[in-house]
Amino acid sequence: MKRRLLKTLLVSAAIASLAPFTALAQQEPIRIGIINHDTGPFATPGREIRAGIDIFRELNGDTVGGRKVEIIYRDMGGSNPATARRLAEELIVRDKVSILGGFYLTSDASPAAAVINQTNTPTVLFVAASPTLLTQSPMFVRVGQNIGQSAVAAAQFALKSGKRKAYVAVSDYAPGHDVQRFFRSAFEAGGGKIVDELRAPLNTVDYAPLAERIKNADIDMLDIFVPPGAAAVSFSKSLAAQGVMKQNLVIGMGEAEDSDLNLFDDSIIGFHQALYYAEALENPENKAFTAALKKKFGADRSPTFPAVSAYDGMGLIYKMIESQKGKAFDGKAAQQAALGVTIRSPRGALTIDTATREPVQDIYIRRIDKVNGKLRNVIVDSLKAVKAPVIAN
């Protein structure tokens, strides 16, 4: 009798112990592939992107829609489209990720389009800003910006400030050319005149000759676009040394973020930038994000636009996963769930346009001033709910 009871108890216990397993079987972890830059010339924004992802996970956990989220990181190591394609293929085919994220450069995403289309893998572009990118795959969704948004905002701010004679100086690569196009189109549409334009080769080290050229032109504003880092520092120092910064309105885009300001001296005061984020934003999401960032990485760490973009990108990814709760993961359906969504982001409100899959957001005009003895980006204006602009080539 006792033995039978014992046997029953044991069998029951055995069956009961299987229960968690059956529950778990429904919650297979979901893998996300992040194509980022841990080394190479873009390691700094790459680090920011990682930070944004980490903060998101800290504040939101790693389980969503009944699934545990696993993240696999891959390092581009620099600009290399061949590597981008290989990494995307490996992540999708070998590592079996369900969603792709990351993508700082346009050339990180463009080569991956083929494999993404073949496998219908939803892909969230965190920072890559080229306008043509979204036409290359219906599975691309963007959370950073379309570069035209900030270029147009810069033009409109300049027009608003009464400027009518512009010089456009960009680095000679695709994003630079895009800025040129969009700025020119918006500035001329508002009655302004483009006095001259120049494209600086990417390998330029000494910007003094270019600054000299600009100085000799009859203008009242200058729109620039150079990659952040060595180029931005060199260029702005040259502009300041030639007096261009003092005499004209100079607008850039992301060359002198708050985290970079230790590279510059007081000659940068007065430099404007148009971008979709500013550390100085006062909304609750930004405050929470900044606090979490400083808590995790130290009080000296500043929030940056790549970090915020990554944070929002993860938000979108989580929404996609959530939409597939309780069923097998369907890439196309998950991606649909992201369209039309509005996220409360540290940058303000961010909506994903249903038709274009582009972000609709406010663009802020920031000016570098000295606040309490330190250089800071101060918000002086903003353009509301800017959509991705479309112009004929």
Binding site: T44, L198, R199, T204, A208, P209, E212, R213, S234, A241
Partner: protein
């Protein structure tokens, strides 16, 4: 005519100051190549090391900029002297290709270490107050910084001239270059002289890196990034020919500056097109008998 004077004065000042920075950095490479027949692709390492030390020591040790530069020079001289004995000397017996490989490897390792220590970004460099600001001349503004660079270049040139043409050390060094076996036969410790020359070259590169940081920003990839430029100057100069390397550096500086001023789009091409033309035109004038 009105257009020409400002443009000309700009190109002259900026082109020459840029050329001088290139000269000061490349001299060490010219010397090493001429003296020891060693292709040292890692030469830029000393320039960037000098820069990183000079701009970081003030905050680390609480000292002024000039003191920091002095200490940096001493450190670089010591480190390069030791490195020459331990590492670079052994390149002497190798083929050129092996030298290329070994020095590229050294470069890689150094860049990796620099990235560990300081991160991959550009270094924030702030020159002291007395070096900034402008003054007016010929109806335009000239930055003090550029004038200071030119002054430095002149001082270094003078020092080198005095060293090589008017001291025993210089004479002995030239003897080692011209006829090594003879020098050895007369009891000169040739190896020691080579180490010293190498250290001098490294020290000069460090000065170039510090003084040139306003034109060539300091970052871990610096030695690779500017290697084509340094090699160009060395190739167009002669074997250990300091005067030629000065002329070449100034020409490169002027051509590059003028090119970027008048035709910014083609800025990347001017120096290298110049190189191709010059090398094809006067191959015998350049490093004849390289092997």
């Amino acid at each position: 005519m009105d257009q020409i004077t400002p443009a000309a004065s700009f190109i002259l000042l900026y082109g020459v100051s840029y050329g001088i920075v290139l000269f000061v950095i490349s001299i060490g490479l010219v010397l090493t190549l001429g003296l020891m027949r060693v292709v040292n692709l890692a030469h830029g390492v000393f320039a960037v090391l000098g820069g990183y030390l000079a701009f970081n020591l003030p905050s680390l040790l609480g000292i002024g900029f000039l003191a920091s530069v002095f200490i940096t020079l001493v450190l670089v001289l010591l480190v390069s002297f030791v490195l020459e004995r331990v590492f670079f000397r052994r390149l002497f017996g190798m083929t050129e290709l092996e030298q290329v490989l070994a020095t590229i490897g050294f470069c890689f390792a150094f860049i990796a270490l620099l990235t560990f220590a300081f991160g991959p970004n550009v270094l924030a460099t702030k020159y002291p107050e007395w070096m900034s600001g402008n003054f007016s001349l010929l109806g335009r503004q000239f930055p003090f910084y550029r004038v200071f660079v030119m002054a430095c270049g002149l001082v270094i040139l003078l020092a080198l001239w005095l060293l090589f043409d008017h001291t025993n050390f210089g004479a002995t060094l030239r003897a080692c270059v011209d006829n090594q076996s003879m020098a050895k036969a007369t009891g000169i410790n040739v190896n020691w002289y080579f180490s010293v020359a190498f250290a001098i070259g490294a020290g000069l590169a460090a000065i170039g890196g510090i003084v040139g940081a306003g034109m060539l920003p300091l970052e871990p990839l610096y030695p690779f990034k500017h290697l084509p430029l340094f090699l160009t100057i060395v190739a167009l100069s002669g074997f250990g020919n300091i005067k030629a390397s000065l002329v070449v550096s100034l020409v490169v500086g002027l051509v590059d500056t003028a090119g970027r001023y008048f035709v910014p789009e083609l800025g990347a091409f001017t120096v290298f097109t110049l190189l191709v033309i010059l090398v094809l035109w006067r191959p015998q004038g350049l490093l004849a008998g390289w092997k």
